[in-house]
């Protein structure tokens, strides 16, 4: 039986293959980051998204190029899914001038004007008010743009969550709040930080449409995100998505993981969003023989290229240390 005999992938499956590629790019990119971190080529904090890829990939699919994104310190996946090149991202982690933030931000502060990626915020909850403001500006200037704001379930305890939800709802602003509920805030399980553990219920108390979504199923995430984005863009004010997911790795590279059972981690790994999609596509025969391998090869090449680029990239001159404290020529 030859490759050509595999059933022709429909548009739907082709799209799913695309989703798979996006998730794989993130997974392989971060796996490389672990190596590079151990080799001290990447420094600072490194928060991995491994296990949560379906969330960023699914939501980004629902956004237009003109929309805006606000993320957290755990944002490699969002950056890649949004279209920031692996080169710019890797160079940033290497602290190089060619990095998307010229090496001044690092892993926690990925910024990119071209894709309207407003960071990379390392203060839990700190990005929410900014997202509200981005949306306010779009509203006041009559632009039909959406601002997607990602944050963890731990951020729900912060006052800035409360104030931002209310402000966005009160003013009917085009914000898509994406709560990545991976059950833990560092070592604190949701039940040890919230009296009401149903995050969607909390969001609804601001009069914001709020849905809970299986964050391990990229198609479910994309569907929900598309519906929510349509509502937001249509002037329905903010929407809230609780995306139930799980982080397979430690919180950061320094986390002894005393707060959860290996067993629990293993259970969740069985729901790996990438493996699940691969299974589905393969069982349906929508991945031609060798297609996955080809994809892996292409991704490996992309990442190796990014590393080579990052290594070769120049550093910001030390003389420029105080550049960008104020805008050029403003002082």
């Amino acid at each position: 039986m030859t490759v050509s005999d595999t059933p022709a992938a429909s548009a739907v499956e082709e799209h799913e293959v695309h989703l798979l590629r996006q998730m794989l790019r993130i997974r392989r990119f971060e796996e490389k980051c672990i190596e590079l971190y151990s080799a001290s080529r990447i420094r600072g904090f490194l928060h991995l998204y491994i296990g949560e890829e379906a969330v960023a990939v699914g939501v980004m699919e629902a956004l237009e190029p003109g929309d805006a994104v606000v993320a957290t310190y755990r944002e490699h996946g969002h950056a890649l899914a949004r279209g920031i090149s692996a080169r710019a991202l890797m160079a940033e982690m290497f602290g190089k001038q060619s990095g998307c933030s010229r090496g001044r931000g690092g892993s926690m502060h990925i910024f990119d004007a071209a894709t309207r990626f407003y960071g990379g915020n390392a203060i839990v909850g700190g990005g929410l008010p900014i997202a509200v403001g981005l949306a306010l500006a779009d509203r006041m200037q009559g632009r039909e743009r959406v601002t997607a704001c990602f944050f963890g379930e731990g951020a729900v305890a912060e006052g800035e969550f409360h104030e931002s939800m209310n402000l966005a709802a009160l003013w009917k602003l085009p914000v898509l709040f994406c709560c990545e509920n991976n059950l833990y805030a560092m070592g604190t399980a949701l039940a040890r930080s919230e009296s009401e553990t149903n995050v969607a219920v909390k969001a609804a108390s601001y009069d914001v449409p709020a849905w809970t979504v299986d964050g391990m199923d990229v198609r479910a995430v994309e569907d929900a995100a598309r519906r929510a984005v349509a509502g937001v863009r249509g002037g329905g004010g903010p929407y809230f998505l609780e995306l139930r997911t799980y982080r397979f790795r430690a919180h950061s590279m320094y986390d002894p993981e005393l707060y959860r059972q290996k067993q629990e981690v293993e259970e969740w790994k069985k729901r790996d969003p990438i493996a699940a999609l691969v299974d589905r596509l393969q069982s349906g025969g929508y991945l031609a023989a060798g297609q996955l391998e080809q994809m892996e090869t292409a991704i490996a090449a992309e990442i190796d290229d990014a590393i080579a680029f990052a290594e070769a990239a120049p550093l910001e001159p030390v003389e420029d240390l105080t550049r960008f404290v104020y805008s050029e020529g403003s002082r």
Binding site: S101, A113, Y118, I130, G133, L136, E160, E163
Partner: protein, 333 residues
């Protein structure tokens, strides 16, 4: 009916209002946002009448959510608007300090120059109205410690009228501190008064014996002290810093090199006040020009008490300024 070219008398409050109105008229991206700036007319009546003139979208009342609406100002500024965020008073700005220090002041740098934050934050500051410990802070000098923001302290009618537009044209975050005791101050304003530069300190009164360095709410007291000193045979120059960050070190040093003596009048708490920074810069740049140690008249290190006599004793007052100056001109050789 006064001739069009004549200067007119106007209050600091009206000057601020005119500046806001002009900004709203000149630039459609400008809007005012804060607690009770609209329907209430502004806690200090600065924005009174603007709601009727510009509507609720551009004169935007906010809930009591300092952190969120300051952060929203940051986001709006990064997305094409020119927000003027009013924090009712500096005392409440502490609730928004995370947004100011960790976001507004850092975004341009963290993003490698991609996202500047053309945001203006106005707030009333200062004591002297018997509002006690939680409502009398004077933290503008403290804010001046933060790289990435600029700190303006209009102490004259002309600056109240002219600093806002300059701040709005600045590509980076600018904080404007308005001492609440100045709102009722009246003064002459030139008919062509408009935007002013904010880079330089200004000599408000010439003098050769000593330089009195001050800013914001302490300016009137310092000028009065200079007048009283004249009667005592001391010719005091009054230098208005105007901007606390970046500090115009050159003007300070140049004046000290001429008068060889200086006294700083600063409503901030003494320890760690902006006056300490000025003394440090004088030590670094003009130590050998000094005929006497620089002195400072600051607020006593106490949460401001309600009782009038105690609050008066805590804040810089004309007699304390005069006494400090007399010591300084008497001292040294």
């Amino acid at each position: 009916m006064t001739a069009p070219a004549a200067a007119r008398t106007i209050s600091y409050r009206e000057a601020m209002r005119e500046a806001i109105r002009e900004a709203l008229q000149r630039d459609p991206r400008v809007f005012l946002m804060g607690e009770d700036v609209g329907l209430y007319g502004g806690c200090f009546a600065v924005s009174k009448g603007l709601l009727d003139e510009f509507g609720p979208e551009r004169i935007r009342d906010t809930p009591l959510s300092e952190s969120a609406f300051v952060g929203a100002g940051i986001g709006a500024a990064m997305n094409g608007m020119r927000p003027i965020v009013e924090i009712m008073t500096v005392n409440f700005s502490l609730l928004a300090l995370d947004q100011i220090l960790n976001n507004a002041a850092t975004l341009l740098h963290m993003s490698g120059g991609q996202f500047n934050v053309p945001l203006v934050i106005r707030m009333a500051t200062g004591g002297g109205r018997q509002l006690a410990a939680q409502h009398s802070h004077s933290l503008e000098g403290w804010y001046a410690h933060i790289p990435g923001i600029k700190v303006l302290t209009p102490g004259t009618i002309a600056d109240a009228r002219g600093m806002l537009w300059t701040a709005l044209e600045d590509p980076d975050p600018v904080l404007i501190f308005e001492n609440a005791l100045l709102y009722n101050m009246e003064g002459e304003l030139a008919p062509d008064a408009g935007a002013v530069e904010i880079a330089r300190a200004a000599v408000l009164r010439e003098g050769s014996d000593v330089t009195l360095i001050s800013y914001g709410g302490s300016i009137p007291k310092t000028l009065q002290a200079a007048t009283e000193l004249k009667g005592k045979g001391v010719d005091a120059r009054v230098l208005d810093l105007r901007t606390l960050r970046p500090l115009d070190t050159e003007s300070v040093l140049a004046s000290v090199r001429e008068t060889h003596r200086a006294v700083i009048v600063d409503e901030g708490w003494r320890s760690g006040s902006i006056s300490a920074e000025i003394m440090a810069r004088i030590m670094e740049g003009a130590l050998y020009d000094l005929d006497a140690p620089v002195a400072r008249v600051c607020t006593e290190e106490v949460p401001l008490p309600y009782a009038r006599h105690l609050e008066d004793a805590a804040l810089p007052q004309v007699p304390r300024i005069v006494a400090a100056v007399l010591t300084v001109v008497g001292a040294g050789g």
